[in-house]
């Protein structure tokens, strides 16, 4: 039987009351620390995505990076040659897997002219017959400038436009590069890179490493690259049109599908899997995993790629993330960006209104 309670105020109750207040308070403090609210110095996805917005403004409904792009659709035709290394259904011999993709240019301004950066990107979502998915986002460069999310954040901060000039402060950018020698390989590439006239003639690299697992249980560190089958006619980008990439894509697709070969590179023991600034030696074994066939395109405001988060850690069984520190950071930041833009699409209170109609505006 419960005893009869006589909660008389006696001094020994003081300790009890303190405990009753202190235990939940300690719990709440721990929660606040783990949740980042009480740890303002921690790099969080929110701070990363806020920095994209600080650099280019808020463009409601658009991705916070690679904001300007176009949706595409097609399929992947497996050659079967990657199947011994990965049991993912997408690589099974003869398998054809539908793909919804997106070409884009990096940067957070959806109205940036296409020749403002020499980099193009390809994002793909493969939907396997068994319902599992493989999502990947690749860039048209052989190495990434930085190896860690902290360095990426520092780079974004260094590139934030100076309110006085509207352009990044060259001194800050120089200071960043001086403090980050790992950017050297990327900078060497960027020196000679020029904005291509077409999405169709570019190679797209995974940059991050992944791990393939075969049905034999063996694990293989890999990177991959989409190699264009369209000839690079080396035509200069038409300077007059800011949106020539979408126009070129439309024009090419009106003549027929575009193709890329998926080339998977297998690491040798010791090749770095946690450092996207370091290319692997050129003599590594590569496997031609199959052909990506892009058949159609659609504007990103209404196309099926709009509401896809190309989180590179959404993977089918047979492909896993490596120890590359960029991968979890990308997953976390893309989710934050995705929530912001879908919240804007949903017109949730506190979100900025969508532009009435996507119009190119004169922005540098």
């Amino acid at each position: 039987m419960p005893e009869s309670p006589t909660p008389k105020k006696r001094p020994r109750h003081l300790g009890a009351w303190v405990l009753i207040a202190a235990v939940p308070a300690a719990c709440a403090l721990a929660f606040g620390y783990v949740g980042g609210w009480l740890a303002p110095q921690r790099l969080t996805p929110k701070r990363l995505v806020d920095q994209f917005e600080a650099n280019a403004g808020v463009h409601p409904g658009y991705r916070r990076n690679h904001a300007k792009g176009v949706c595409v659709a097609g399929y992947f035709q497996s050659s079967g040659q990657a199947a011994p290394y990965s049991m993912a259904q997408v690589f099974a011999s003869g398998q054809r897997t539908p793909v919804v993709g997106r070409f884009a240019i990096p940067g957070s301004n959806p109205y940036a002219p296409d020749n403002s950066v020499p980099i193009r990107s390809m994002a793909l979502r493969f939907t396997q017959a068994n319902g599992q998915q493989w999502r990947t986002g690749m860039n048209s460069m052989p190495v990434f400038p930085v190896a860690t999310p902290q360095a990426f954040y520092a780079q974004l901060q260094a590139q934030q436009p100076d309110p006085a000039t509207g352009k990044p402060d060259p001194k800050k950018v120089a200071t960043f590069f001086a403090a980050h020698p790992e950017t050297a390989a990327f900078r060497a590439w960027a020196k000679t890179a020029k904005p291509s006239a077409s999405f169709a003639t570019e190679s797209y690299w995974s940059l991050d490493a992944f791990v393939f697992t075969g049905s034999d249980g063996l694990r293989h560190a890999v990177r991959w690259r989409m190699v264009p089958q369209s000839a690079d006619d080396d035509s200069a980008a038409p300077a007059a049109d800011a949106d020539y990439l979408a126009a070129d894509l439309r024009q090419r697709l009106s003549h027929g599908p575009l193709r890329w070969k998926l080339e998977v590179t297998l690491a040798n023991p010791g090749d770095p899997t946690d450092d996207a600034t370091k290319a692997w030696p050129a003599d590594r074994q590569t496997v031609d995993a199959g052909t990506l066939v892009v058949e159609s395109e659609q504007a990103q405001d209404s196309g099926p790629c709009r509401d896809i988060n190309y989180d590179p850690t959404v993977l089918p069984s047979g492909i896993q993330p490596s120890d590359d520190p960029l991968l979890p950071a990308r997953s976390a930041a893309y989710a934050d960006s995705y929530l912001r833009r879908t919240s804007e699409e949903a017109h949730l209170p506190g979100t900025a209104a969508l532009p009435a109609k996507a119009q190119p505006e004169a922005r540098p």
Binding site: P2, P5, A21, G36, P325, P328, S331, A332
Partner: protein
């Protein structure tokens, strides 16, 4: 069937403490993973989804246990308002431990993600894909989690109050340590 032991039934006690640990862990895992860009984000998310679905399954079992074995009555002299608060918060906790995993599952479905509980185990979608549904459900997941955390804090404070101040056997009825 009336409870005459003054204790919660054994399955109810086991489920209570097991799920208390799981749910508290889930709350910390949840806020920790969305505030991290490190490997922690990846491995916490890998725990979060299967653990959340396990909570859903256990919550259903627990609800059945709750209906099958009525809990011991609250002390007769407990003020009406406190009784009301106790009952309301208990039902809120049951509702949230079922709603949280369902919302998590539905929001991933609405986001068009495959709901993977492991490298190869995939749950079917329980909600049509769409950006509006995703955004609403994703925010709901956060707000309900905060509500769950606050309800848990109040619940824990009340349990300590019963155990340390009132010493009325309420805390003991869940610990199975009868006071002489």
């Amino acid at each position: 069937m009336k409870n005459t032991t003054g204790l919660f039934a054994l399955p109810a006690r086991v489920l209570h403490w097991l799920m208390a640990a799981m749910i508290l862990a889930m709350l910390f895992i949840g806020v920790g993973m969305v505030a991290s860009v490190s490997e922690r984000h990846a491995w916490l998310l890998r725990i979060h989804k299967p653990l959340g679905i396990a909570i859903l399954v256990l919550a259903v079992v627990r609800l059945a246990v709750r209906l099958r074995y009525p809990p011991p009555p609250l002390p007769a002299d407990l003020p009406m308002l406190q009784k009301l608060a106790a009952h309301a918060s208990h039902w809120l906790l049951y509702a949230l431990m079922i709603a949280m995993p369902l919302v998590g599952w539905a929001m991933l479905s609405a986001g068009g993600y495959p709901v993977m509980l492991s490298d190869s185990l995939r749950l079917p979608a329980i909600f049509p894909a769409g950006p509006i549904a995703f955004a609403v459900l994703r925010h709901l997941h956060s707000w309900l989690a905060m509500l769950l955390f606050l309800t848990f804090l109040a619940h824990m404070a009340a349990a300590l109050y019963h155990g340390l101040i009132r010493r009325d056997g309420v805390l003991a009825s869940m610990i199975a340590r009868r006071r002489e």
